[in-house]
Structure formats: C-alpha cells, structure tokens
Assembly symmetry: C2
Homo-oligomer: 459 residues x 2
C-alpha cells in the first residue's frame, strides 16, 4: 500500500475506534490481540481493539467498519492454531471475549444458547450440572471460546464418536458484513428450510459473518465409560493397532495415539517412565450401556500389536491413563516453541502417515513429535523449535509443506480441525483446486463485497 493510503486507513480506523464504546489503542492490548497460539508473528500491530459487550456493539463496529472501509478481525479467546485471528496495521480487532453469558440451558431439550465468548469448559461445567455434555473438546477446552470453536469447526478427542463442532450446532445468530443480523438454523434437531447457512458459517473463520450467539446441542453424559491403554514397540505398530480398532467395527469415544518422542518429552516434564515402557502409546475409551463389552473388542484388536495392555477399572485409574495424552502439548511447550500440525488421512493409512512424518523429520532436520486422534485419521505432528527460531519460516515451513504433501499423497487433507488462517494458505489451492476456490471467493464476495471481515484468512 502507498504511504498516503496507509495513513488514510489509519485515520479511518482511528475514527472507528473513537466511535465505539469500549476500545483500546494501548500497545500492550494491541499486541495481546495481534496473534493466536499458532506461533505466527505478525509484522505489525493492529490499530486498535474493540471490546464488544453486546450484539449492538458488534453491529455498530461492523457498520462503522463497512462505512469507513476498515478491515475488522473477529477474535475469540485467541487460542487458534492457524493464525486465523492475526491482525496487523490498518486492521481493527473485534474482541468478543466479553460476550460470555450462557443465555439458556434447557436440560429437557438438551440445548444451550450461548454468547460467543463462553469458554468451552465453562459450557461443559454448566451442562455437567444437568448430566449433559457439549461434545467438541479441543485440547484448549479450558481457555478456548465457543465462538472460536465455531469459526474453526473445532474437533477434539470426543469427535471420534460425537462429531465435530458442526454436528453440535443447531443454529446461529450472525452479524453480516453490512451490519444486518442473520439467524440461521433452529432449535429443533432436524430442519431443511433453505440452504444450510449454519454449516456455511461454521469453519469460515469469521470471514462470512460474526457469530454473536449459538444454539448448541448437548448430549447425555454416558452411563458408563471404559478405558484402556497400550504400549507398542514403535509408532507404526501403534498406528496399525488404531487401524485395527476401526476395522473391528466398533465406535470408540476416543482413540488417541502418542509417539515415542512425545512420550520422552512427557517423561522429561513429569518424571514418568512411559518411553521405557514402549515406543508409542495408544489410549482408547468406549462409552454407553455396552462400554465394557465394546472395550473387550477394542482391547482384543489392539493386543496383537502391543507389548503391554492396561485396563482402567475405575475413573481414577482412567484419569491416570488419560494424563499421558493430556500432558503431551504442555510437555512439548517446555522444550521450545511448538507449531501444531493438523493433517488428516484415511483411517487405514495411519501407519504410512507416521512413517512419512519420521522421514520428513530426518530429511528436514526439524524435530517432529506426533499425537493423533486416531479414530478420525487426524494427526497432529508438532514441530518444536528453539526459542528465537521461527515455527512458520525456514526449515519449519519446509516441513509443514512436506506434511501437507504427505497427507495429499495418502488421500488426505491439509487440516483436520485447526483451519487454514494465514498459516496454510500456500497449500490451499493445491488441495481445493481452482474451481473450488473460485466458488468460495464468489460466496465471500456475495456476503462481504468490501472484504471487511477478516480479509485474507480461510480462503
């Protein structure tokens, strides 16, 4: 942009900020709102932050952005992993974290209506009081917002059985790029009036509208849960065991794989001895009225590949087995800066995927630690670099690109649940093709012709 254009934009952004009720141009606040947990470092700071406390605040900010031609970057809790809420000079951040009320929780209909800033774990705590739960459970559940979950179509461990965010959202209230309010979906379980605008909004990274309210489906807490874990000689054996679980035609409620290097990192952080016990770890749960019988089948499928199979007979023992998986990311974060990859592959090709990731690590010299939502074929290869090194440039970027090509070669995808943001745009056309991208841009133009909302993200 020319210098004149930049300063004109800065002037218009300043006008927008001065017209809104609760804002900040403090460098500390702008810095806090400039990026997410992807490791992406923006080259500049956004011009300011609008803190929305109501739908009217959002409408006002969006209308001002449209009339002033100022790009607006919606932001939830900032826990994204694809730089989808990163913002820079000339942009204003629309922070939705103060819209954090649970507006309704109907235990009979098993429905909650929430504002976008409600944290995933807060909703789950409220639902648990009624014997219900909200299925999507990203690893960041304690700190991520429902609005962000919707913007990225977030998954988690439980989507093995219960589906991703899309399967738990019945309806949305959205502020469009021109400030109009759109309601999508409904409170009923089924409904087919008109196009599926709810699904269109989910995963669109805030580029088609700002979600200001969501009607969510809750589910009954399972009557029984069974848990088992197993150690394997190596990660390929663990991946083969996971594929065998799928081939055994059961429905685990979670099936999580942790590779040897990650076990080592957990041992280092926690003083455990996982790595000594095996070169990879697989954790399975089943739930429902037949959880124990289903777990028998799961354990039977895993056994031929395993060196050790552990069954948990009570919730405390189960929680101990879950700890290894839960501590994976925090343990890696003690080793350096972490960039969490997110490829998806067909479920029968997990072993090829983990072997391919090892080869990429050897070829690029980048350290890769892998965990996976194995029942969905969704792998999180995590690159760890030393402080000061970039996770989005240089060898790390080369490795990210190779991961994508590996996924593509196996019939998979660039991103299973984290989204595209700024981080993965380079490979998007290669996966989607020209026609798909054209259609997506046409839809974007139809809804936001001025490109006001989160420009440059998602597509």
């Amino acid at each position: 942009m020319e210098t004149d254009a930049v300063s004109a934009l800065a002037g218009r952004a300043a006008e927008l900020l001065s017209a809104c009720r609760s804002t900040s141009t403090d460098p500390a606040d702008r810095s806090a709102a400039a990026t997410d947990r992807s490791g992406f470092v923006p080259a500049s700071l956004p011009d300011g932050v609008v803190y929305a406390e109501s739908v009217d605040d959002v409408v006002q900010a969006v209308r001002l952005a449209a009339s002033h031609g100022v790009p607006l970057v919606p932001r939830g809790a900032g826990t994204g992993l694809a730089a989808a809420s990163s913002a820079g000079a000339g942009e204003v951040v629309l922070d939705l974290s103060r819209m954090n009320r649970i507006l309704d929780l109907d235990p009979v209909e098993q429905i909650a209506v929430v504002e976008p800033g409600v944290l995933n774990a807060e909703l789950n705590a409220a639902a648990a009081g009624h014997g219900l739960f909200y299925a999507p459970d990203p690893a960041s559940t304690a700190i991520c917002s429902i609005g962000g979950n919707i913007a990225t179509n977030a998954g988690g461990m439980r989507c093995a059985k219960y589906g991703v965010t899309r399967e738990s959202v019945l309806g949305l209230r959205v502020v469009l790029a021109d400030g109009r309010e759109l309601r999508t979906g409904r409170r009923t379980i089924k409904g087919v009036t008109g196009y599926d605008l709810t699904a269109l909004m989910i995963g669109s990274e805030g580029a088609l509208g700002v979600v200001v309210e969501a009607t969510l489906r809750l589910r009954p807490a399972p009557v029984t849960t069974a848990t088992a874990a197993a150690f394997f000689p190596d990660v390929a054996a663990a991946a083969a065991a996971a594929s065998a679980v799928i081939a055994a035609r059961i429905q685990p409620s979670l099936l999580e794989l942790v590779d040897g290097p990650t076990l080592e990192a957990i041992d280092l952080a926690l003083g455990t001895d996982y790595r000594r016990r095996g070169g990879a770890f697989l954790l399975g749960q089943t739930d429902g009225f037949g959880a124990q019988a289903e777990m028998d089948v799961l354990a039977g499928a895993v056994e031929p590949f395993a060196t050790e199979v552990l069954r948990a007979d009570d919730p405390v023992a189960a929680e101990a087995l879950l700890a290894a998986r839960r501590e994976a990311i925090p343990s890696l974060e003690k080793l350096g800066r972490v960039s969490i990859g997110d490829i998806g592959v067909p479920r029968g090709r997990l072993a090829e995927a983990v072997t391919g990731l090892q080869e990429i690590s050897e070829r690029t010299g980048v350290r890769i630690f892998t965990i996976a939502h194995a029942a969905d074929g969704n792998l999180h290869p995590m690159i760890v670099v030393r402080p000061g090194e970039s996770v989005t440039e240089g060898p790390a970027k080369t490795a990210l690109g190779e991961m994508f090509h590996l996924a593509k070669r196996l019939g998979g995808t660039l991103t299973g649940e984290h989204g595209v943001g700024l981080l993965k745009r380079d490979w998007l056309r290669d996966e989607l093709g020209d026609v798909s991208l054209d259609v997506q841009h046409a839809i974007r133009r139809a809804l936001d012709p001025q490109a006001i909302l989160n420009p440059g993200k998602a597509i």
Copy 2:
C-alpha cells in the same frame, strides 16, 4: 411470459434436446418426468427430458442450458415430497437415474463412492455384504436415489441416532451452473479446508449444482438391536411417552409414533387389530453393545404412559412390530391421495404438536393422519383427500398452512427432512426472515447468475 418469448424458449429448449445424446420429447416421458410424489400437479409438461449416462452428459446438458438460457430441472428417482423436481413448459428435465453405479465400496475405510442414481436400498444391500450400512433411510428407501437424498438432505427412521444425509456425506462431485466441475469435501472423516461447500450443496434441491458423484460414510452394522413397542390410550399419551424417552437420556436408534387414525387405516389394509389395542402406537429400537440394557431404560420410560408394552426377543418378532410403522403410508394410499407433511418441533413439545394437529383437522375438515420420527421431534401429518381432490389447493392447503403456524408457535420448523420445493415456498419467508432469504438469494446468484438450475425451488 409473452407468447413470443415462450415460443423462443421452446425453440431453444428444442435445440438443447437435439444436441444431447439421449433425450425424449415423447409426451409420456415428459409426463413421467413432470412431477414427484408430493401430489403437486404442474400446469404444463416440460419440453423434454435429457437422460444423462455420464458426467460428460451432465456437463454438456448444463453448458447447453447456460448458453441457450434454458432452465434445467435435475431429477433423481422422482420420489420427492415437496415438488422440488417438478418441471413445466419451457423447462428441460435432466434425469440422472441412469447414472446408477456404485463406483467404490471400501470396507476398511467404511466409505462408498456412488453415482447419483444409485438407489438408497441398493447401496444398503451392497454395504450389508460387508457388515456395513448407509444410515439415512427415508421411507422410500427401495425407490429413492442417493442424489435425491442429497438434494433434500433426507432423513428417515435411523437418523434418530445416526443423523441425516449431511452427517453421512464426506464429499461431492458437482457440475456447476456454468458447466464447471467442482469437487467438495474429501475421503477423510474430518477436514476444514475452506468453506463447507459439501453442506451447502446438501439440501439445496439442485439449485446450486448438479451432484454427479458422492463420497459417503458407511457405518458398522450394530452387533445387537433391541426392539419394543407400546400401545397408549391416545396420541397425546404416546407423544408424552416419546418425550419421556428423550428425557431419560438414552439414544434410541429409532423411535416412531403412529396415531389412532393411521392404526385404523393399517387395520383396514392389513386386517390387523392395532386400533382395538390402543389409540396410538410407539415403536422403539436401541442398538450396539448395550442394546438390551438401553432398551430396559426405554421401556421403563414408556411404561407409565402405556396400556401395553411388547418386547421383541428375536429379529422376526422385531420385524413384526416394525410392520405397523412400515405399512402406514402404503395403507393410507389405499384411502385416497396422500400429502405427507413434515413439521419439526422441539422434542419436549410433541404432545402439544399432535393435539394441535387434531384441532387443525377438526377446524378445516381435512383428514389428518400422523406418524412421527419422535426422537427428532419430526412429525409427518398426512392429509388424505378423495381421488380428484387436490392435496395442494383448497382446504388441504389451508391445513398445510395451519400446520406450519402450529410448528412455528411451538418453536419448530416448516420442514424437517422433505424440503421446500414448490410446495412450501409460501411460508418460507415467514420462517427464515428477510435477511436469511436475501443471503440465500445472494449465494444462488453467485453460483448461478442466469438461474439455469431448478429455478423457483428451495428458496
């Protein structure tokens, strides 16, 4: 339209038809392709029918339609219930029923790739050979096509547990209104690259593109299924029992309600004695490793409302209980012309819905028979008129309108799984509102600016 314009359009349609490989302008073929099973009678016949046998045939037909400005009406098996594939003068039908190959069935990945003309029951038969099933099961399973299921986001009995068509479609190959080929989605379970064009296409009634191939998710056949049925003094008691099942926090694989008048019609057709045994009937199934234990809870929830509870101990007994539900529509069709309504309400308000339907019947003098997918709150109130009477005009239309307003008053929807087509457009704006309809038209214009594909349907 002016007479000159009509004849010019007819001339262009004739050109299109003469350029395509397999077509018909025979009045019998045009009549057969003019409407669906909704009871809607078009005022005129389409100009002709193109029978596509390949993707290339579809591309050619769509390109010619675009270049000649001739509206094209995609058609599957013609079993729709909302007049979404009805066609009249100046329109050409694009019949996809000959594209009926199962291209791939991967029992390891539990995925099928099919052409749109494959019948729902054919796919299920093929999947059953591998111990798998395709979840969406409209009552018309034996005669409806997967393409039509996708165009309407079809449901059925099993979606109580397994979701509607949207939850079973991983990816699509679509011919756009300009003849370009679009691929959406993927073969992996999860994936979030770009906007969810797969969901956008599902339920769009052929107005955003012509589905020429679908990648579908199959599921393992349940290891055990448990079945029970119960009779009740009246339909309100049966509806209250269904709500009690939901409140009991279990997950039936199906939960079907049949009201007294429908039982009477079944008795008349089959010589059974259902109506003598009760004023309404509820059928429940549970499946999976804990099916029997879950059924105990279901039966316990139903019992306080019922006059008689029957458990089926083997598949033959279960099939006998299912017969009452399966025979409902065929039995009504012996009484006259049937128009199948499709409202959805919150699951706790089923009793109010069935009571409201009885009041509508009394007020309008129209005979209404009700069955319901009770676990989803999806009711099918069926209007039966004498031969020669219209099911889409006069008192029947008044009753349809009142059904919609009843659903709306209860916080529900105009259509749970059949779609809008031509039949329900009058009430669409009332449910969706101006902004939603504007957005939908904007998307439609972005994808099909000439309004070539199925104009006037869905939105």
